[in-house]
């Protein structure tokens, strides 16, 4: 009962803040998008191979591209088959961990933002820097590929 009361108070506070704080709106939308990505990976099965999104590059050239197999990889990671996921796409785990870390960050930072009225500016700064570093680490092979392609 106390838990329910606390939850309802938290939600009321969250809703009143949500209308005035862009940061909370952005966090909510991103958390929703990450949940949709997870739902997509969970609903579509790698064994039935019924993914609606196909690689245009593979359709045109007949050759796979570095991002081919990411959907399969995500689905297999969600089902706990990490080694199979690595076989489908070697960068899948990195990108998946980026999404998981972002989900955790959206929730944690939103709660912290609501609880602390003083250091909100610093919190947004930490969020930008932290997310930027995680993004660079997760997408480093793709970024390296892009830079090498431009330079060559």
């Amino acid at each position: 009962m106390i838990l329910l009361r606390n939850l309802s108070r938290f939600l009321k506070e969250y809703y009143s803040l949500l209308r005035n704080e862009p940061y909370l709106k952005v966090n909510l939308v991103f958390a929703g998008i990450i949940l949709l990505v997870m739902a997509y990976s969970g609903i579509f099965s790698p064994y039935k191979n019924n993914y609606p999104v196909v690689c245009i590059h593979e359709k045109i050239t007949g050759q796979p591209c570095p991002s081919c197999g990411l959907s399969h990889s995500f689905s297999l990671i969600l089902r706990g088959r990490i080694s199979e996921a690595y076989e489908w796409n070697q960068y899948g785990l990195r990108v998946f961990l980026f999404f998981i870390s972002q989900m955790a960050m959206r929730i944690t930072f939103s709660v912290y933002y609501m609880r602390n009225g003083q250091g909100r500016r610093d919190l947004i700064l930490y969020d930008i820097v932290g997310s930027g570093i995680i993004f660079l680490v997760a997408f480093l092979p793709f970024i390296r590929m892009l830079v090498l392609s431009i330079l060559n």
Binding site: F30, I56, F139, I143, L146
Partner: protein, 164 residues
């Protein structure tokens, strides 16, 4: 009324920021990145409209400018994915000849290995056993042919008979 306009400018800025960040993530992924040009354009349009509204109302522009900058950077990254696509297209041209060469290499390796090998096949059925031994032949035959030619001996196949 003024507050409503200010809110709508800020909402446009938030939308631009969200679409911009999604575009940024998509733009970095090879092959998908080129398609990120479309949400990139949407981001810039949203941010531009938001910015013009915010300038009219003198409201805060921080979020809108962030959305605009991220949108422009994402568009540039998305455009640069053309280089990656070009690189893969160049590699794709080479792939058929590379595969052909690899097949030829494997075929010559297998043929060479089989020429110099002894093959023993044993088949057993109801107590009876049949054994086939195939010893090295091709290399030995070639060496023998060479020795025969050197010693002046001719093989039967090389003789030419005059028709009667």
């Amino acid at each position: 009324m003024e507050e409503n306009k200010s809110n709508s400018a800020q909402n446009l800025g938030i939308a631009a920021l969200i679409v911009g960040i999604i575009t940024f993530v998509l733009a970095v992924i090879p092959c998908v990145g080129i398609m990120a040009i479309i949400p990139g354009i949407v981001t810039i349009v949203l941010a531009s409209v938001g910015l013009s509204q915010a300038s009219r109302n003198n409201s805060s522009k921080g979020v809108i400018l962030a959305g605009l900058v991220i949108g422009i950077v994402a568009m540039l990254i998305s455009f640069s994915q053309i280089f990656v696509a070009g690189r893969f297209a160049r590699h794709a041209d080479k792939w058929p000849s590379d595969i052909k060469e690899a097949i030829e290499d494997i075929r010559s390796d297998v043929t060479r290995d089989l020429e110099n090998s002894n093959v023993n096949i044993r088949i057993g059925s109801h107590g009876d056993t049949l054994e086939i031994n195939a010893k090295t032949t091709v290399k030995d035959t070639r060496v023998k042919q060479l020795e025969d030619l050197e010693s002046g001996q001719k093989e039967q196949n090389d003789t030419l008979k005059k028709p009667q």
